[in-house]
Symmetry: none
Subunit: 215 residues, 4 copies
DNA sequence: GCTTAATCGAGACGGTACGTCCCGTCTTAGT
DNA sequence: ACTAAGACGGGACGTACCGTCTCGATTAAGC
């Protein structure tokens, strides 16, 4: 089973309101969900992660910071991981869309460069790394993370590569998924190990893995 | 700052008794450290991680399982991460030494294949992934993990590559550290995302990244 | 300050609709109070108390059981204690009226026997005991319980005794309030401690405390 | 089933350390129970009850006030009721022992006067009333309260009365338990309803219920 | 053989966070 | 206007571990 995937998303509206569970079955009466509270929670979680790390990211701390009751969090999110997923999905859809349209070797290179920048420079990159990490510790996180983030992006990336191959822009020697792993893996690994991502890494990977070998 | 590194270690004895803290000076009298307790703790930690995941890996659970008092653990290890590091170092020194001697393209390929097997098939591979993960959540873990595991292996791997280049066996287009990241990163990333490692991934990576490009 | 009192009430209509809060003036327009909802709440409270005890008597449980919104309860009753008071007043007016008319030693004895039965056999007896109990825990309950239940009954009981003394039927040696306490106290105490009320207790109390001592 | 009882206890040592559960099975090693913490909890509970009422008596408040961790309370007491029982038993053994030795009508009268004072003037009296109340709300409390407090005192009181009857000091017309209920009930009832206990109540009860009727 | 000191098991301790329940207030839609 | 529905900020519940501590019992080197 192949269920990972890392980047992209059609720039169009995908999920303006990323409710963790599908839809809350539209209540016929009663108060509706408080959008301000929802945003306060997302931002509080994001801020706490960036400022104090995943260790300080407790439900109580999020509630405190967001000025929200604990129960309000438990009402809408089954775990802090889903909160982070909500922010990650919103942010990476916004700031790191998988290129649509006619692909070129250049647009793929740009996308990977953007991904490298996202990982090392964007607060949402920290969220991505934290989720990759937490997925190692907890099967529930792994499942959710794959379903809601990795798989959808991987689908778009695979499609991107296929179209580029069709257009004769690239000719990878590995199958599409393995190719993506070979391109994205080094970037993620560098980020995970705290090392920076060398400037020529993306270029060389694209050159060596995607470009036709002369002979 | 470059502080990652993933595999190897001279097969020779490096640390038969991996005391996390330096050495307990010289015990002028009284009982010495109980080796049975030490091993019980290491095995309990390993078993718990493999059987129930990192979430169930609490000091109390380790003590319970090892039949040891909590204080006995705190006396010798500053955190559960150091326990895992002890087991990881022992195991990967034993089962995944960085090849010494005259390197060939073939021996590098074998080492990477062994690494892939280690990640996906060996219990110690789970420990490695758990530590990579925990390093994202806690700076102390990151520091220790790099100092005691990643850095030493990376030094040996860098040396291995340099000798292979000198021998004309390989001609990578990236600098040594980036080359290792590009080779190891995809394997780790596949393991982290729960996907298997495709059979031809190592071969193709070696071929595309280390072999001279014809022209 | 003397504010207790335990039984009776003129059999005539005293409060068909015991609105805890005064009365909602005159409803100038819109729906009037839903009598069905009011009764549903009273019965739900009563049932829950009898079936699962005071501990399970939460506003949310009452609302759930009555099929009524929480707010509907809060609109009409300031607390669950007032709900119980409403049921208690209705029930004890109905099933345990303080005898009116010309009193005899016999009618007083009957009233006390009825009270004993009320305490041990009637669901409303459980309500009375629960309110006595809750009055120990909460001053607001104590105040309301005395004002709305104990004081009015005590007034009637005191009057009953006075008329009986005037008629030469009894000649207690204590002042009226103390006499009532001496008669009612043992019954309540037996009920509170879970012991049954011995069959001859009422008779002997009446004989020893109300009848003239021979000498 | 008769299980109530209210006052007394041989003046001799009965339970210097009223551990809720019998004995903690003498731990062969490890820290022993912290007596200071035990006392801090008992006093905090007592103080909170007297100062702010049973409603404010939460485990968290007790822990806060006693400067103790919540878990330390849960380790030794199954509920706040048992804490109150511990204080009540210690206090009433100390300040309201059931008279031993040769009983006279006078010593019984004194004991009842002491009981009246205990109920209305002693902080421990508030504890007793609170426990009587809580026993109405919770069967577990009722059970514990009867087993640990009411039953033992009732046994001593019954014995006291029996000895007094044998000595020809009194000649009650009710059986021993009912006699005690008839004497103690009015006092407790007055205390429960917040009324004071009239000065001549005890005297008249003793005179009318225990003294031989002339004729 | 006796002293001395470090280790061991056990586990109590002050804490923090967990996830749940209910409080009493409020807002929304429907009748 | 009143209802059912239910979200909201709050706070206590009882549990699990945290890392520190104290207690005897055991063990082995040095006297």
């Amino acid at each position: 089973m192949r269920l990972d995937n890392v980047v992209g998303s059609l720039p169009g509206k995908v999920s303006r309101m990323p409710e963790s569970s599908s839809q809350p079955s539209r209540p016929r009466s009663g108060s509706r969900r408080d959008e301000a509270a929802r945003l306060a929670v997302l931002h509080a979680a994001d801020d706490l992660l960036v400022e104090h790390g995943f260790g300080a990211l407790t439900i109580e701390a999020i509630a405190r910071r967001a000025g929200v009751a604990k129960q309000t969090i438990y009402r809408w999110w089954p775990s802090k991981v889903e909160i982070l997923l909500d922010t990650l999905i919103e942010d990476s859809d916004k700031r790191l869309p998988v290129p649509a349209g006619k692909p070129t070797a250049e647009s793929i290179r740009d996308y990977l460069r953007g991904f490298a920048r996202f990982l090392t420079g964007d607060p949402a990159g920290k969220v991505l790394l934290a989720l990759i990490a937490q997925a190692q510790h907890d099967p529930g996180t792994a499942e959710s993370f794959h379903q809601r983030y990795l798989r959808p992006r991987r689908d778009q990336e695979r499609d991107l590569l296929a179209r580029a191959v069709d257009a004769g822009e690239i000719s990878p020697r590995l199958d599409p998924d393995a190719t993506i792993d070979a391109l994205v893996g080094p970037l993620v690994y560098c980020a995970l190990t705290g090392a920076g991502i060398p400037g020529d890494l993306v270029d060389t990977l694209v050159e060596d893995l995607l470009m036709p070998r002369p002979r």
